[in-house]
C-alpha cells in the first residue's frame, strides 16, 4: 500500500470500505504504475469530497470511466474509478437531449434512445466507451462531433468546487451549457492533449444532444458471435461503398453529399478497414482485402442512407447516384450484397467501425503512430496526402508495416468540417521505429512550416508560439482552476 493507513482511512470514510482498494495485488489491473488507492465514488458529493481531500493532503488524482489505457501516473496518486456512476438520468424526447453519468456507455444510451426514435453521436473509440466522451465518430456527418454535442454539464473542478454549466447553474435544467454570459463549456471538456485546463477535475454528469433515428427500436440479429449479423437492412436504409479514381474526385463526392444533406453516415475507410468490419476473423479479412483490392479503383468511402420516408429515400438515392456518376465513383459489388451491407450498418451505427480495424492489427495498449486532425478537410487531406507519400517511401524500404500507405477521413456536419487520420505501424525492421518517429516529426514540422494546422507530436514550447501563444493562456487557466496541481493527466472521462 502506497498510502499510509491514516490517509487511506480518510478516503475510506468517504466511499466506504467496499469501494476503496489499495491492495498491491489488485492495483496492476488498473495501471502498471504505483497507484495510491482506487476509489469508486457513487455520486457528485463523494467525488467532491475525494477531490477536496486530495487538495488538502496534496495528493494527486486521476479519473477513469470506461477506458482501459492510461498514461503514466505519479506514485501514490488516487485513481477514481467511475463505474458506480452509471445512470441515465433523463432522456428528454421533446428537446432531444439525454443526461447521463460518466459510466453510461454509448451502447447503453443508444439502445434506450432507439426505443424512442432517437440517436446519439458514437465516437470512434467505440460504443463501449462513455457516452459523454468528447471526440469524433462515424456518424459525424449527421450527428456532429467533438464538444459540439455537449449541453449542460456538472464539473467538480480540480480544487473541489462544483460548477454547473449553463442553465443548470440557475434552473436545474440541462438543455444549455453556455452562460450566463461567456461559456465555460469549451474550457473544461478537453481531449487531453496536455495543454489545457481540460486536464482538470471530474465531469460527473453531462447532457448530450440527440438526433432523430429513423430505424427500428432495436436491431434484430441472427447468428453467433463473431458470425452474427442483422436479420435485414431496415426499410429506407441503404449501404454502399464507393471507390474513386483519385483523392480529389473522392473528396468532391464527399463534399457534394454533405452539401446536399442526403446522408446519415459517410466514412472514408480504405478496403482494409472495410474488410475488418465485414470479416469475422483475421484469415478471412486478408482474403477479403485481396479480393476488394482488385475491385476498387482508388480511395473510397462507405455511406449509409437512412431516410425518414419512402419519398425521402427515393430522393436521397437519386441524388447519390448523380453525385457518384459525376465524380467517377464506382460501387463495390460486395457491399451491395445486403448481408455485407448489414454488417457495415451494424458496425457503423451500433458498434463503431474503428474497433476491429484498430485492434486486429495493433495490440491493445500499443502505441499508434500518426495523426488525427480535425478541422478543414481539404487542407488536411493535402497535408496528410504528402505524409502518405513519405510513408510509402518508408514502406518500400521495409521500414514500416505495409498497409499500402493509406490514410482516411470523413466529413463532419454536412461537410462543413472534417477529420483526417493517418497511422503508421512499425515493421520488424530494427530501424523501423526510429524511421517512423522521424516521419512523424517531419510531418508535424511540415504542418507548422506550411501554416496548415497545429500538429501533435511536437513540444508545446515549439507549437504554442506559432499558434497565438495558446500554451501560455492555457497555463494561466490551469493555474487559476487547478491551483494545487492535484489533477493528473487528463480528465476524467476520456476513453
Amino acid at each position: 500500500m502506497f498510502l499510509s493507513p491514516e490517509v487511506y482511512k480518510k478516503f475510506e470514510d468517504i466511499v466506504g470500505e467496499e469501494n476503496i482498494c489499495g491492495d498491491l495485488a489488485i492495483m496492476p489491473s488498473y495501471h502498471s504504475g504505483q497507484i495510491g488507492a482506487v476509489v469508486l465514488p457513487k455520486d457528485t458529493e463523494q467525488v467532491q469530497a475525494i477531490v477536496k481531500l486530495c487538495n488538502r493532503l496534496n495528493i494527486q488524482f486521476t479519473v477513469m470511466s470506461t477506458g482501459f489505457i492510461r498514461a503514466a501516473m505519479p506514485q501514490g496518486c488516487i485513481y477514481l474509478d467511475m463505474r458506480r456512476m452509471n445512470k441515465i438520468i433523463e432522456i428528454n424526447e421533446k428537446d432531444m437531449y439525454a443526461v447521463v453519468e460518466p459510466y453510461v456507455t454509448s451502447a447503453e444510451l443508444q439502445a434506450e434512445l432507439m426505443k424512442r426514435g432517437l440517436n446519439c453521436s458514437i465516437k470512434g473509440s467505440g460504443a463501449q466507451c462513455t457516452a459523454i466522451i468528447r471526440g469524433h465518430g462515424h456518424m459525424d456527418l449527421s450527428t456532429g462531433g467533438d464538444d459540439r454535442n455537449q449541453l449542460g454539464m456538472e464539473w467538480v473542478t480540480p480544487a473541489g468546487d462544483v460548477l454547473k454549466l449553463g442553465a443548470l447553474g440557475s434552473t436545474h435544467e440541462w438543455f444549455c451549457g453556455d452562460g450566463p454570459g461567456p461559456s465555460l463549456r469549451g474550457v473544461i471538456s478537453g481531449r487531453g492533449s496536455g495543454d489545457a485546463l481540460a486536464e482538470g477535475g471530474v465531469i460527473t454528469k453531462a447532457a448530450m444532444k440527440l438526433y432523430h433515428w429513423p430505424g427500428p427500436a432495436a436491431f434484430e440479429l441472427e447468428g453467433q458471435s463473431p458470425n452474427y449479423n442483422l436479420k435485414e437492412i431496415p426499410p429506407n436504409f441503404m449501404v454502399r461503398y464507393y471507390s474513386f479514381p483519385s483523392v480529389p474526385q473522392m473528396y468532391e463526392a464527399e463534399l457534394k453529399i454533405g452539401e446536399s444533406e442526403i446522408m446519415f453516415a459517410l466514412m472514408g475507410f480504405n478496403v482494409a478497414m472495410l474488410s475488418a468490419n465485414i470479416s469475422p476473423n483475421m484469415e478471412m479479412e486478408l482474403e477479403v482485402i485481396e479480393k476488394l483490392n482488385k475491385e476498387v479503383q482508388g480511395p473510397g468511402f462507405y455511406v449509409i442512407v437512412a431516410a425518414n420516408s419512402p419519398e425521402e429515400f427515393e430522393y436521397d438515392q437519386k441524388v447519390l447516384d448523380k453525385i457518384i456518376s459525376d465524380t467517377g465513383g464506382k460501387s463495390l459489388a460486395m457491399v451491395e450484397d445486403p448481408k455485407v451491407g448489414a454488417l457495415v450498418l451494424i458496425h457503423g451505427v451500433r458498434i463503431s467501425v474503428s474497433i476491429r480495424e484498430t485492434f486486429r492489427l495493433r495490440p491493445v495498449g500499443g502505441k499508434a503512430y500518426g495523426f488525427q486532425i480535425m478541422g478543414q478537410r481539404d487542407v488536411n487531406i493535402k497535408w496528410i496526402d504528402e505524409a502518405a507519400n513519405r510513408k510509402k517511401e518508408l514502406i518500400k524500404k521495409g521500414l514500416g508495416a505495409d498497409d499500402g500507405g493509406v490514410y482516411f477521413g470523413w466529413s463532419v456536419e454536412n461537410s462543413h468540417l472534417g477529420k483526417t487520420e493517418i497511422f503508421f505501424d512499425p515493421s520488424p525492421h530494427p530501424e523501423s521505429l526510429d524511421a517512423i518517429i522521424d516521419w512523424q516529426q517531419t510531418t508535424a514540422r511540415k504542418a507548422l512550416e506550411d501554416h496548415l494546422n497545429p500538429p501533435t507530436h511536437l513540444p508545446l514550447s515549439v507549437v504554442g508560439p506559432e499558434v497565438s501563444n495558446y500554451h501560455i493562456w492555457s497555463k494561466k487557466l490551469d493555474e487559476a482552476f487547478n491551483p494545487n496541481g492535484t489533477t493528473v493527466v487528463l480528465p476524467s472521462l476520456m476513453g
Binding site: G186, G190, D195, H451
Partner: protein, 488 residues
C-alpha cells in the same frame, strides 16, 4: 485617464472626439441603464490601433467600451458602466475579407453590417444564418458575439454557430486568435496555404471562442470574425401555420427540425407578425393583428443543386402528414399575410424604421432560453406580470425561436413603449424587473443578461460568477474592458 494628444497620435485627429453632442449619443440607449457620458469616442481603423489603445488603457486604468453596431442600441451593453470611460467605436472597420462558396465561409471586420454582408455573400452563392430581421446598422460580428438566435435552427449545430473563428485583442493588449485561425502563421499565410479559418475548435483542447461570446466586450475586443455560411437555395417555398394553441406549433416545429425538413422556422404572435408586416401605420397594424390567429409558425422549404423541385415536393408531402396528426394547417397566406412576402423580409435586415420601433418608437426586450414543456407556463407568467403592471398583454410581441437543432427555444418578449413618455418608461422598466424575476422563478434561463436585471440573473449562479471572474482576471487583469457589465 487618456490625454487627447496621445490618442490623436494613435488613431489620427479625425478619429478622436470629445465633443459633447457626440459623447451624449454614446451615453445612453433605449435600455433602462443609467446614463453615463464617456470622456472620448475613438474610431480605431485596425487591430494594431486597438492593441495600442488597450495597452494605453492598462497603463492609465481607463475603462474601454467597444461598440460595433450603429445606433440605435437597445441593451445597455454599450453604455459606459463606469466613469472616465472611452468608447472604441469600431463601426468604421468595414473590410469584408472573404466570401467563399467552396468552403461556405465569410470573414469580416466588426463594422460590417448585415445590410453590407448579406449581398456580398449572396453574390458568391452562399447565405448567412440570420437573426430575425436585424436592424440595418447591426454589426454581424456583434450579433455573433452576442450569441443571437438564428432563424434556421437546423443549421445551428452548436449554440456558438454560425461563429467560426475570432481575431481578438484581449484585455492585456495582446493579440489572440481562436479556432483554426490561431495558427500556425498569419491569416495571410494561412490563406496562401489554403486554410480559411472555418473550424471553431481549439487551439489545443480548449474552445476559446466560447469565452469571448456572451462577454459583452469584457474579455477582449474582436477585430474580425469568420462566419459559417450555408448554400443559397435555388428554390424556396415558405408556409404559415396559424393556431390559437401555441403548444401545437411547438409540436410541429419540433418535428420539422427533428426531421430536418425546413430551413427558416420560428413562431411569432400576432402582435409581432403585424409589427413586421404592416405597411401603413397604425391602421394596417391593428387590422393585421386582429385578423391573425394568436400564434403563427413560419417555415420555409428549400431545394439546392440537385433536383430542387423533387426535394421540396417530398418534404411538402411529409409535412402534410405531420400537420394532419397535429391538427394544424400549412398555408401560403394567412389573414392577408403572404408567406412569400415574409420570407423576403426574413432574408434581409429590417426596413427602416426598425420593426421593433414602429409601433411606439421603442421596445424593451426580455429574452431567455427554455424548453418546450416550460414555455406555456412562461408565456402565462409574462401575461400575469403584464396585467399586474397594467400593461396590455396583447400589446406584447412574442418571438419564439427553436435553437440548436431543436434542443432549446429562445423566447423573446418585445414590450413596446413611447420613449418620450416618462410614465411608459417607468411602467415598462418596472414590468421588466418584475417579469425577469418571475420568469427566472419559473425556470427561464437568461443566458445573455443585459441591463438592469443583470445582477439578479448572475447572482443566481454564484459558482459560475466565481469561475468567470478567474477567466476575466487572466484576459483582463486590470478590468479595463467594459467594467460594470455582467459580473465584472
Amino acid at each position: 485617464m487618456f490625454q487627447k494628444d496621445t490618442l490623436v497620435k494613435i488613431v489620427g485627429e479625425k478619429n478622436v472626439t470629445d465633443e459633447s453632442s457626440t459623447l451624449d449619443t454614446y451615453s445612453k440607449d433605449l435600455s433602462f441603464v443609467n446614463t453615463l457620458r464617456p470622456d472620448f469616442v475613438i474610431k480605431p481603423k485596425n487591430a494594431n490601433e486597438i492593441a495600442q489603445l488597450v495597452k494605453l488603457a492598462n497603463e492609465t486604468k481607463t475603462p474601454l467600451v467597444p461598440v460595433s453596431s450603429g445606433a440605435q442600441h437597445f441593451r445597455g451593453d454599450t453604455v459606459p458602466g463606469s466613469g472616465g470611460a472611452v468608447v472604441l467605436d469600431l463601426s468604421g472597420m468595414k473590410k469584408i475579407m472573404r466570401t467563399d462558396r467552396y468552403h461556405r465561409v465569410a470573414m469580416c471586420e466588426p463594422g460590417v453590417t448585415f445590410e453590407e454582408l448579406i449581398p456580398a455573400v449572396e453574390k458568391e452563392g452562399i447565405r448567412l444564418n440570420l437573426p430575425l430581421l436585424p436592424r440595418k446598422s447591426k454589426s454581424v460580428v456583434g450579433s455573433l458575439l452576442e450569441r443571437e438566435p438564428v432563424t434556421m435552427p437546423t443549421y445551428q449545430w452548436d449554440i456558438s454557430d454560425p461563429l467560426a473563428c475570432l481575431g481578438l485583442i484581449v484585455g492585456t493588449g495582446e493579440e489572440f486568435r481562436t479556432g483554426q485561425a490561431a495558427g500556425p502563421g498569419t491569416i495571410e499565410e494561412q490563406w496562401e496555404a489554403g486554410a480559411v479559418q472555418k473550424a471553431p475548435y481549439g487551439p489545443g483542447s480548449t474552445c476559446w471562442h466560447r469565452l469571448f461570446q456572451g462577454a459583452q466586450g469584457t474579455m477582449g475586443i474582436a477585430t474580425w470574425a469568420s462566419i459559417r455560411c450555408e448554400i443559397l437555395p435555388t428554390l424556396e417555398e415558405p408556409f404559415l401555420v396559424g393556431s390559437p394553441y401555441v403548444e401545437r406549433l411547438f409540436e410541429l416545429s419540433h418535428w420539422l427540425i427533428r426531421l430536418r425538413l425546413v430551413n427558416e422556422c420560428f413562431i411569432l404572435n400576432n402582435t409581432n407578425l403585424a409589427a413586421i408586416m404592416a405597411k401603413n401605420w397604425p391602421c394596417d397594424y391593428q387590422a393585421i393583428k386582429h385578423a391573425l390567429p394568436p400564434w403563427i409558425l413560419f417555415y420555409n422549404l428549400a431545394g439546392y443543386e440537385y433536383y430542387p423541385e423533387e426535394r421540396v415536393s417530398y418534404r411538402k408531402k411529409n409535412i402534410q402528414s405531420l400537420t394532419q396528426k397535429i391538427a394544424v394547417e400549412s398555408t401560403k397566406a394567412l389573414a392577408g399575410i403572404s408567406a412569400g412576402e415574409l420570407l423576403q423580409k426574413v432574408h434581409r435586415p429590417s426596413e427602416e424604421p426598425y420593426w421593433k420601433l414602429r409601433y411606439k418608437g421603442a421596445s424593451h426586450d426580455i429574452f431567455f432560453l427554455s424548453i418546450a414543456d416550460k414555455l406555456p407556463g412562461l408565456l402565462d407568467a409574462m401575461n400575469i406580470e403584464a396585467n399586474k403592471a397594467s400593461y396590455p398583454a396583447s400589446d406584447i410581441g412574442v418571438y419564439i425561436q427553436p435553437g440548436v437543432q431543436g434542443s432549446s427555444y429562445h423566447c423573446e418578449f418585445n414590450i413596446f413603449y413611447d420613449p418620450q413618455s416618462p410614465s411608459e418608461i417607468n411602467q415598462v422598466s418596472q414590468l421588466s424587473t418584475a417579469a425577469t424575476l418571475s420568469l427566472m422563478d419559473k425556470g427561464a434561463f437568461f443566458s445573455r443578461p443585459y441591463g438592469k436585471s443583470t445582477d439578479a440573473i448572475m447572482n443566481r449562479d454564484a459558482a459560475t460568477v466565481t469561475a468567470l471572474t478567474k477567466v476575466k482576471n487572466i484576459f483582463d487583469p486590470n478590468n479595463i474592458l467594459n467594467p460594470g457589465k455582467l459580473c465584472f
